[in-house]
């Protein structure tokens, strides 16, 4: 029980740290930190699928991209739309899409499921490329960020720091909810299903429905991240819905580690910084990405977070095995 209080303290400290960042960081770095938080949510949503439910999808970008495009399209076509309404529209549409696609694809398992998700991602990409009149095709869509309507007052979030605060609070809270989710009945059900699906069935759980609910939920969260991605860059291109965007999240989650909740957040952090600096010095970024993948799979399958946990346990004399049950994610 002591652990839980610790987790809440960590969350509060992180938010406080985040709150002082605009005073410390330069504008460019603050912009990057905003991006990191958005991608952290995307990575967390993906890890609920991969790490917690054991479902390997190569199509998570279809939800991220859909959320991004729906936000852009609705801001362009609905005059006077407020920021939060655009986000909610994205959320609703990605939820419905996730439900329909999940219903179709979840009848398959393992490698076959992975293949199908990739094919559907390709379908979304093809549609986004061809449907020029709506998505802008290869040119993408530019938007200007709408104001926040708080009911009693409108708030401008056009500056880098004000938008950063919005992201810190809204996206940060979404990440915290995802963390809380892993402790709720549904979150536990998903984890238990990965452990022993047959037994869950015999204990009265409808495992097919559970998987569909989780798939829909993670799709919606990815869509939410996508919507904020559009608002952040005030631009969306077809790369947001491409397989490269799936690769990106896969790499973040894998580098960070699937076995802890916070691993993917760390992964998003490392990935965005790494990508920003590497693409400055080399155009062989995909080669490094491939090498990192192979290296991680072969030598660090648990990711950075697993390494950190191991080091911490080693220092504490291997007593702390309880606090971070690797992969079994009981209390992470």
């Amino acid at each position: 029980m002591k652990l839980k209080t610790n987790s809440y303290i960590v969350i509060i400290v992180l938010f406080l740290l985040g709150a002082v960042m605009p005073l410390v960081l330069r504008r460019y770095n603050l912009f990057m930190l905003t991006e990191i938080i958005i991608f952290a949510l995307y990575a967390v949503s993906y890890n609920l699928l991969l790490g917690y439910a054991g479902l390997l999808s190569f199509g998570h970008a279809m939800f991220f991209g859909l959320g991004a495009f729906v936000a852009a399209v609705s801001i362009i076509h609905i005059p006077g739309l407020t920021l939060l309404s655009a986000v909610i529209i994205s959320l609703v549409i990605t939820t419905i899409t996730g439900f329909l696609i999940g219903g179709l694809l979840l009848r398959h398992k393992g490698a076959y499921f992975a293949l199908l998700t990739m094919a559907f991602n390709a379908l979304f990409y093809a549609v986004a490329t061809k449907w020029h009149s709506v998505t802008g095709g290869d040119d993408g869509l530019s938007i200007s960020r709408p104001e926040m309507d708080l009911g009693f007052a409108s708030l401008s979030v056009s500056s880098v720091s004000s938008f950063y605060y919005l992201i810190l609070i809204v996206v940060g809270a979404s990440i915290v909810f995802c963390w809380y989710f892993t402790h709720t009945a549904m979150g536990k059900t998903v984890l238990l299903m990965r452990e022993n699906e047959e037994r869950m069935k015999f204990l009265g759980y409808n495992t097919n429905i559970s998987r569909l609910i989780l798939f829909t939920f993670t799709g919606a969260i990815a869509g939410l991240a996508g919507a904020f991605y559009t608002l952040h860059f005030q631009f969306v291109s077809i790369s947001a819905i491409s397989i490269d965007m799936t690769t990106a999240v896969l790499l973040m989650v894998f580098v960070g580690g699937t076995r802890t909740f916070w691993g993917p957040i760390l992964g998003a952090f490392v990935y965005i910084i790494f990508q920003n600096y590497l693409s400055d010095i080399t155009d062989r970024w995909p080669l490094f990405m491939g090498l990192i993948f192979v290296f991680m799979v072969l030598y660090v399958p648990g990711g950075l977070s697993q390494t950190i946990v191991s080091i911490r346990q080693w220092f504490s004399g291997r007593t702390g095995t309880q606090d971070n049950g690797p992969a079994k994610a009981e209390e992470t």
């Binding site: 709720t184 009945a185 238990l192 452990e195 869950m200 015999f202 204990l203 759980y205 495992t207 939920f217």
Partner: protein
Amino acid sequence: MSDYLHIKDIHKDFSGLQVLTGVDFKVVEKERHAVIGPNGAGKTTLFNIISGKFKASSGAILFKGEDLSGKPPHMLNRYGLSRSFQITNVFSELSVFENILTGVRSRYGLRYNFFKRPDHNKDFREKTEAIIEEVGLKDVGDLPASALSYGQQRALEIGITLSTEPELILLDEPTAGMTREETGQAISLIDRVTADRTLIIIEHDMDVVFSLADTISVLHYGKILASDTPDEIRNDQRVKDAYLGEE
């Protein structure tokens, strides 16, 4: 007045191979009913059909007058059926407490909730603790299931089976692989926890069968050879022949 449980003319073939050829017997409420039979008689298949793992090729499973055949396992569980597994089938990385809690919260409908934390519910915690105590795992409640001894894992297996508060319990060779001493403890455990419930048990060990069962059904070549009290079964010539024929 319909029967409590009527296994009615169950047939099962696996791509042409006839395993069950018209199994038919009745189970009375609150009795302990053992199904025995030589190896390959189809006991496990029958058990898997009753518990919903397999679908019967034909026949019916009438539970209080309602046909349950073909219903998926999670629905059967909600009718009050619960089964154990011959090969220990627990959540091995999770604690004993979590293992039991999973069934307890399912019984009370807390399965897919996005907001409630099952471990925050005092009622569920108490019910879980009670079951853990009942199966004698109080001292190891916080350990992961994989850290338990074999006998303790078998006790946990029964604990999980009990966790959804079933009225009809199906036990699949609960003492398989146990030592004499462990078997003795298991018998008294089963005896205790199934009081006031209906039990169907598949068992190889005749000591277990005769010390627990009120009624015994003998399965032979995919059919019920006899279904009667232990004393009658003990003296039944057909049953003797069936078992002798095996050797």
